[in-house]
């Protein structure tokens, strides 16, 4: 490598976290270290590279221009998810530009020998849903994808983060990335989540507390009894939303819940090899007494359902609360930002959250489209009827989730109540396919971003949990799901 002699050793080499007991992050870092360029810059090996149609075409053409090839197609998986229609797939994709992008992904994968789950494949789904369900996402791995919500895979105790197209090209060519150690942030949630309060509410509460940039430059580890008590689905939701606090990624150290989830998955090790792998996975958990650069603490027992009211995920309130009043805010910058958000959202300051009426409901996205999420929403929807002024849709995270939900009859619960039941994809989380909000429409959405125009130009997004979204669909406005007792008994996973 071209290095100046004086740059080679600026001792000591930096690793994530301090000396002494190690964090999971440090263990993964050390076990993926290919070479050290300088004290703070290391070349890390990537175990799994997930690819989709939107952020990869320019990476493949970059490779072609430089006459480089794909190093490890066997550690790469491509899927069509971002722009695929969720309604009608037997006909050509209606948008010719999107169709051409999808076609290029197919061509690039064939040329490089990369397995592709196209939109007709029975295992197709959102990239962050299929990795875990196939068992490709395992503890101790390094996982990247040209998508910021790659942090989702951290739920398995993996080091997983989103990258841009230039880095997609680099991973295709070298299976490695240049990385500097991030600071470590421990987010500890102890106690028991009350009935009706979900992993989504926990994540929104964390973002509200930390702020939309509060975790910038950090790798988060979620710890504490409330995190341990979460299912893998719940942990996936929490890790998914880590990026919304600005962190590079977030993880939960592997434990028995992780191991149980992986047993019998298509890509999991088999037989005696599984037991040996499980031992390795558990040994990669953060050591007792490991130090973090910073710690944030929340009490799960105090959490309630959350609803975002503004144009970033930290603009969030408890369902029992109100949209802020400008006079209550501390600084002029906050007042300006809040005033702009309220204007975009068409909300009056001080409005009670439960008095906000909606036009649309979207249940789906890499945040909340797994079976447990659909069960929670169906428990609320069962026997009810979507409010006449509301259009509601359910988009399963994968075709496998869709089949499993149908096997339980959840599709009938939804369609009987007036929800649309769709094919798998990213759909209205980012509106790159025909599923978009019209200007001014207000949506209760289980997705991850309420940015201006995110779900369609001029559309207004409120982020909520699946059960809160289903409840809003039936009532036409936000309601506190904790009030909807008998339904709740079955709604909490």
């Amino acid at each position: 490598m071209e290095m100046d002699a004086d740059e080679q050793i600026e001792s000591p080499v930096r690793y994530p976290g301090g000396d002494g007991p190690k964090t999971a992050y440090r263990k993964i870092w050390e076990s993926h270290l290919v070479s050290q360029e300088s004290a703070s810059r290391a070349l890390l090996y990537i175990d799994l590279h997930l690819v989709h149609e939107v952020t990869s075409p320019q990476a493949f053409s970059g490779l072609r221009e430089a006459r480089r090839s794909v190093r490890r197609p066997d550690l790469t998986l491509a899927v069509m998810d971002h722009t695929v229609p969720t309604w009608e797939r037997s006909r050509p994709t209606p948008d010719p530009v999107a169709a051409e992008q999808l076609r290029q992904l197919g061509e690039n994968c064939v040329a490089a020998g990369i397995p592709l789950l196209d939109m007709h494949h029975r295992r197709q789904g959102i990239v962050h849903v299929i990795g875990p369900e196939l068992g490709l996402t395992q503890p101790g791995m390094t996982i990247v994808c040209g998508d910021s919500h790659t942090s989702t895979h951290g739920a398995f105790g993996a080091l997983a983060f989103g990258i841009g197209t230039s880095e997609v090209e680099q991973v295709l060519a070298t299976q490695c990335l240049w990385q500097a150690p991030a600071e470590t942030l421990e987010i500890r949630v102890d106690g028991e989540l009350p009935v009706g309060v979900t992993a989504k509410d926990m994540a929104l509460a964390i973002i509200g507390k930390v702020g939309v940039a509060g975790a910038q430059g950090t790798m988060v580890e979620y710890r504490g009894s409330a995190i341990r008590a979460l299912s893998m689905e719940g942990r996936l939701t929490v890790c998914n939303l880590t990026i919304e606090a600005g962190a590079r990624g977030g993880l939960v150290s592997a434990d028995e819940t992780t191991v149980r989830y992986l047993e019998g998955r298509p890509a999991s090790p088999k037989g005696g090899e599984f037991d040996r792998a499980a031992e390795t996975w558990l040994s990669l958990a953060t050591d007792d007494g490991a130090a973090f650069d910073r710690t944030v603490v929340l009490d799960a027992a105090q959490l309630v359902p959350h609803v975002t009211w503004g144009t970033n995920p930290a603009m969030v309130a408890e369902v029992t609360g109100r949209v802020p009043r400008l006079g209550d805010l501390g600084t002029e910058a906050e007042r300006q930002q809040t005033a702009r958000a309220l204007e975009y959202m068409g909300l009056t300051e001080g409005t009670a959250i439960e008095d906000i009426w909606i036009d649309r409901v979207f249940i789906g996205s890499c945040t909340n489209s797994r079976l447990e999420d659909l069960r929670a929403a169906a428990a609320i929807a069962r026997g009810g009827r979507v409010h006449p002024k509301v259009r509601a849709m359910v988009v399963p995270g994968s075709q496998s989730v869709k089949r499993a939900a149908e096997a339980e009859g959840l599709d009938r619960v939804f369609t009987d109540a007036g929800f649309e039941w769709r094919e798998a994809g990213c759909s209205m989380c980012l509106g790159m396919n025909p599923d978009v909000l019209a200007p001014g429409e207000r949506c209760a959405s289980t997705s991850n971003r309420n940015f201006e125009g995110r779900q369609g130009a001029g559309g207004r997004t409120h982020l909520v949990s699946p059960s809160m979204a289903a409840a809003a669909a039936l009532h036409g406005h936000f309601v506190d799901v904790r009030k909807l007792e008998p339904a709740l008994a079955g709604a909490v996973g």
Binding site: V54, T174, T280
Partner: protein, 208 residues
């Protein structure tokens, strides 16, 4: 990659915190498959009205900022989606450097990969630069990467921090991919030592 050494140019301001990449380039422009000019798509919803005319109330449409190549903005610039198209849009609009109190992590890497320099300066100083940029005749700055310094013609100068790895890449135009490829021996050695039970995506029956 695109080299960056010293750049002198006119400043423009976008006085908002937490500008996300969905605003820098909305989703409808992400279906293209080329790396061409995305300049017209930059800040699309904020910049143009429904008829496609520039909105006079959007800061970057101010005539004093036309021809600007240095963007001065608020904290956490570029948060949200990993779309590198956001950087391509800023470059297409003519920007070569962005000055802000902080940047989102993925955006920072995407910028550096494309020779768009993210310059982090304390919020008070950014506010001061922003005020100067809004003066009637506009304001010019020099961003000096070798010296890691921002200067103007009236004696203001401020040092900034830049990651040494990226500084070297930017000054030389050195390609991080070529640098990684030069580690072939180490990569091959690492691959030889990986546990063989780690998953592969080409396993038989994986997708059945």
């Amino acid at each position: 990659m695109e080299a960056f050494t010293t750049h002198e140019g006119l400043c423009a301001t976008l006085s908002r915190d937490d500008v996300d990449t969905d605003q820098i380039i909305p989703k409808q422009f992400l279906k293209r498959t080329d790396r061409g000019d995305y300049g017209d798509a930059g800040f699309f919803a904020w910049r143009y009205d429904d008829a496609g005319h520039p909105r006079p109330d959007f800061e970057l449409n101010d005539p004093v900022f036309q021809g600007a190549s240095i963007l001065i903005t608020g904290r956490n610039f570029g948060c949200g989606s990993s779309r590198e198209h956001a950087v391509w849009a800023l470059l297409g609009m003519g920007f070569r450097a962005v000055i802000a109190p902080s940047f989102a992590d993925i955006f920072t890497v995407n910028s550096l990969q494309n020779g768009l320099l993210p310059v982090e300066l304390p919020a008070l100083l950014v506010a001061q630069l922003s005020a100067r940029a809004k003066s009637p005749g506009g304001h010019r700055l020099t961003v000096d990467l070798p010296a890691q310094q921002v200067r103007d013609g009236s004696g203001l100068s401020a040092d900034f921090v830049v990651d040494p790895f990226w500084k070297k890449c930017l000054l030389s135009g050195r390609d991080p991919i070529a640098m990684a490829l030069s580690q072939e021996e180490a990569i091959a050695e690492f691959e030889g030592s990986r546990p063989d039970w780690r998953p592969v995506t080409t396993g038989e029956g994986l997708f059945s």
